[in-house]
């Protein structure tokens, strides 16, 4: 007999957000926080496995897509999209600090074209990372694009141009509106 109440362990209808909460009840002793290293172990092992299975390009696409999905969800659950632009940007900045994701700083935001240049210091994904000659914050690219797309209702593409992985000390992202999708 089918469970008419739904929401069981086997319920395939659970969406991303359903997996993220109720942590305090589940981790009464250990709590809701953990070292960044654990997050990174998950992320970079995932990158390795995905690269070996599908190639680097596909791995980046998958990670970026995951970031974008989270960004959209984060927008709808944690951010007030009714705020005017400047207030919204300030809100995003504060949320990323509150959740210890990183210190978001804007260097440019052209209201007419939507073009933005922003940095994330002490980024969760790569701060302290060795210089390997390439950017690694593809998840952040997707995450920021997801937020910007959801807020502006425009198609955004976000590219990381500086990263700890390329020898920088902050991650810098270039966000542009895609005119012809």
């Amino acid at each position: 007999m089918a469970n008419i109440f739904g929401n069981t362990d086997n319920d395939n209808s659970a969406v991303l957000w359903d997996y993220l909460f109720n942590v305090d009840e589940g981790r009464k002793n250990l709590g809701g926080e953990m070292p960044v290293i654990v997050y990174r172990m998950l992320e970079y092992s995932m990158r390795d496995v995905l690269t070996s299975m599908y190639g680097k390009e596909k791995m980046i696409e998958i990670i970026r897509s995951a970031g974008e999905k989270t960004g959209r969800e984060f927008y709808s659950r944690c951010l007030d999209g009714s705020l005017p632009l400047n207030d919204f940007l300030a809100q995003v900045q504060q949320k990323l600090i509150d959740l210890k994701i990183g210190i978001l700083r804007f260097e440019k935001f052209d209201e007419e074209t939507g073009h933005a240049v922003l940095t994330v210091s002490e980024d969760l994904d790569c701060s302290g990372f060795p210089s390997i000659g390439e950017t690694v914050c593809n998840y952040d690219e997707g995450f920021l694009a997801g937020i910007l797309k959801a807020y502006t209702k425009k198609e955004y593409i976000v590219v990381e141009i500086d990263c700890w992985g390329t020898g920088e000390r902050v991650c810098r992202f270039d966000a542009k509106v895609v005119l012809d999708k």
């Binding site: 900045q93 002490e122 020898g167």
Partner: protein, 403 residues
Amino acid sequence: MSMEQNDTDVLFEYLRKILFERNTPMLSAQEVSPESEKLVNGMNLFHDWLEENFRFANDIAEGNLNGIEPSKDNPLCAPLKMLRSNLSHLMWQTKQVADGDYSQRVAMLGEFSTAFNTMTMQLKQREAALKEHNALLSHITDNIGEYVAVLDEETRESLYENKALVDMSIEEPRLAEDLRYSISRYDMESSGRSWEISLLSSEEEGRTLYYHVDSFYIDWQGKKAIAHLLRDVTEQKEWESSIEYAANSDALTGLFNRRYCMEMMERYIENKRDFLVCFVDLDKLKYVNDTFGHCHGDEYILTMAAVLKETVRKDDIICRIGGDEFVILMPKCTEKHSKMRMNQARNRLLRLTEEKNLKYPMSLSYGVIACGENNTLSAEEILDESDKEMYLFKQAHRSEWKA
């Protein structure tokens, strides 16, 4: 000197130059023994990075945040890159604040964050206070019953108009435009702080509208401006004018009265003007009143007033100073011309007597006194003298009248 000693000296000197001199040429590996070649290569790389670091630091120090990018793997530049990022962010923040965005915060930059965020917060509070202040000011200007207009001092472009003036623009656009035109041509030197605008009404033909204006030089949202407070004083002016008219005019004829006559004479005397005083008397008004009644007497007086108006010049002032007595003040007029005019009036009255077939003859007697720069008589004395002249005229023409 041993080979090791030579290498040490060369490398030490190279290190000194790298640290204290700019644009030092790279050290060639040939200047040291093969054993020290690796060290030379390392020092050359260090030299390259250090030069890059100096150049990058100088660019930042000079405010050039878009200078030549140091190589990605130069670890010496890493803190400077962070500094540049922070400065870029602060530049954006400053621009945002300048554009009125007080919602951004500078995070995690130590005391600078505190100082900047405090400044932004205070600016936000001040702007809010200023908006409140402006709202209060708008409320006051909208309710003071006056029209308020603020114009740019230089361009005379409108910076603010209160509700009363905005409403006028809708209800009486032509009048509002005329007022705007008048205030746009304001000049304090010639008009002073308080001045007046008079305009012909487009609604009521012949009516003149008066506006009292107080003008102030002010600072309006950072611009040099002139604030004009306009008050419609048309009714006040009209009332004053009617009071003044009543005080200075004769109720029956509408001519000026004795009070006005004396005031004008005194003013002429004080200003040493050339003028004639023509004293005119209606002949036999008492007889007409007693015999035919006061209605006829009043008719006689009104006829006299009308004839005098027709006869004298536009600038002459006709006053009725008593029952049958009139005075005409004639600036810049010769005695001959004056007498000619009076004779014309007298003849006109006589003709009207015949035309109207009146039972009493209408006529006048007059006496003229000239006053000029050397006059020493008072207004009363001049009047007496002209009265005497009139009497002489009357005596001389008595027989004519009886006939």
